[in-house]
């Protein structure tokens, strides 16, 4: 599903040039759950941003479903991302002025899904995430675990082929963290490909495979026993 070849990302300022990713190559099969680990500054989030079409590589190739997407313009990246890639962030990134229902509805509005179908899908997803009783609440009225469940609901509402999670349990306690990882594992079992960046070895153990980065390069890949 995902194939990157000799991917390089360089950040340039007036004084400094930083090589965030240094000619990395990797593949992620459809339905696979991959964890990316490494110390701070090793390029994990940069790699995730490129995989999520939020940024372009400086050089190299990125194939998503056998289509080269590494050199798309902003408008094309948004179009490709819509409905195909879902995001889960460490800090949840819910819109404070919108209710849980409206936050989860957001991707569907930009996909121009009809109102009646939106309502049905949102209700099903909220029920699945065990958060329907909070549909009319605002994010600041929810616990961290509940907010992350809403963020996951928003990420999956459009049935994306790929979910990218950037330290999804980073702001959660161990119990809520485990609940979130169980949710992601369940989604993966249903066929969603998941790429997750994490600092936590315990969270990485939920994945099929772990890729370790260091200074922008892949140093080791391990298959996890599940």
């Amino acid at each position: 599903m995902i194939k990157i070849e000799s991917l390089k990302k360089v950040f340039r300022t007036e004084e400094v040039e930083t090589v965030a990713l240094n000619s990395i190559s990797m593949q992620v099969a459809k339905g696979e759950f991959v964890a990316i680990m490494g110390p701070s500054g090793c390029g994990k989030s940069t790699l995730l941003n490129i995989l999520g079409l939020l940024d372009n590589p400086s050089s190299g190739h990125y194939f998503l479903d056998n289509t080269e997407v590494g050199d798309l313009k902003e408008k094309e990246r948004t179009q490709t991302r819509k409905g195909n890639i879902g995001f889960v962030f460490q800090s949840f990134n819910l819109i404070e002025e919108m209710t849980v229902y409206e936050n989860v509805e957001l991707p569907l509005t930009y996909l121009k899904v009809k109102a009646s179908e939106r309502k049905q899908r949102i209700e099903e997803t909220l029920k699945r995430m065990s958060i329907s009783h909070r549909a009319n609440h605002f994010p600041n009225q929810l616990s961290g675990g509940q907010q992350q469940r809403v963020a996951i609901a928003r990420a999956v509402i459009a049935n994306p082929k790929l979910i990218l999670a950037d330290e999804p349990t980073g702001n959660l306690d161990s119990k809520n963290g485990k609940d979130v990882m169980d949710l992601l594992t369940e989604l993966n079992r249903e066929g969603t490909t998941i790429v997750m960046v994490t600092h936590s070895q315990r969270d990485a153990d939920f994945a099929h495979r772990t890729i370790n980065l260091f200074d922008g390069q892949i140093v080791i890949e391990t298959e996890n026993l599940l």
């Binding site: 989030s45 939020l54 948004t78 179009q79 819109i95 404070e96 002025e97 409206e102």
Partner: protein, 200 residues
């Protein structure tokens, strides 16, 4: 329809804050419009006193009686004051709009990540102000009518207070609001959304 409900709900949720901002904008605009009206009918003053000096013309040998001179000085000082007041009000308006858009930088980024295009974002933010701005402008115009009528009671000769002054000023202010909002949204929406989310 959902967006309208959300805008109204947000307005009442942050009720006090928004009320103070809109009221102060309304008062500022009222002052600006009154002073613009003053300049407008001060130039009409010249129609009643064609032989008196025009504000824009200097005639060193011209002799005026004392009454006219005092009125002229008063008018000149009001003109300067009105320009300064208008500039201050506009600066305050632009500052408020800038800070509002900056406050919602992460929201713009989240919408982009979830599939919003640049036109979607511009439409959303410009559309919100289509609801809020007319309220402020209307408050300002209502305040202006009362103040202007009261003030004109001081004069025997009254110039007309044309509705076009209010319509023109209101449209001008609305245009400034939309331009500032769209310019800021355009700038933020063109940034990499990850940068906006990280900085939050």
């Amino acid at each position: 329809m959902n967006n309208v409900k959300r805008i109204i709900r947000s307005f009442f949720k942050k009720g006090q804050n928004n009320f103070i901002k809109i009221s102060s904008l309304g008062v500022g605009m009222a002052v600006a419009i009154v002073l613009l009206a003053k300049v407008s009918f001060d130039t009409q003053f010249d129609d009643f006193f064609p032989e008196a000096n025009h504000i824009y013309q200097v005639q060193s040998n011209f002799k005026m009686d004392k009454g006219d001179k005092e009125t002229k000085k008063f008018r000149d000082s009001i003109l300067v004051g009105s320009i300064v007041t208008l500039l201050i009000t506009l600066l305050r308006l632009i500052g408020y709009l800038n800070s509002e858009i900056q406050r919602r930088t992460s929201e713009i980024a989240i919408r982009k990540v979830n599939g919003a295009t640049l036109p979607d974002i511009l439409k959303l933010f410009a559309g919100e102000h289509v609801f809020l701005s007319p309220i402020a402008i209307l408050l300002g115009c209502i305040a202006t009518v009362f103040v202007a009528k009261e003030w004109m009671e001081n004069f025997a000769e009254k110039a007309s207070l044309s509705p076009l002054i209010f319509i023109g000023s209101g449209l001008g202010i609305f245009l400034v609001i939309e331009i500032v909002v769209l310019a800021n949204c355009y700038k933020i929406a063109n940034q990499n959304p990850v940068k906006s989310l990280k900085s939050e």
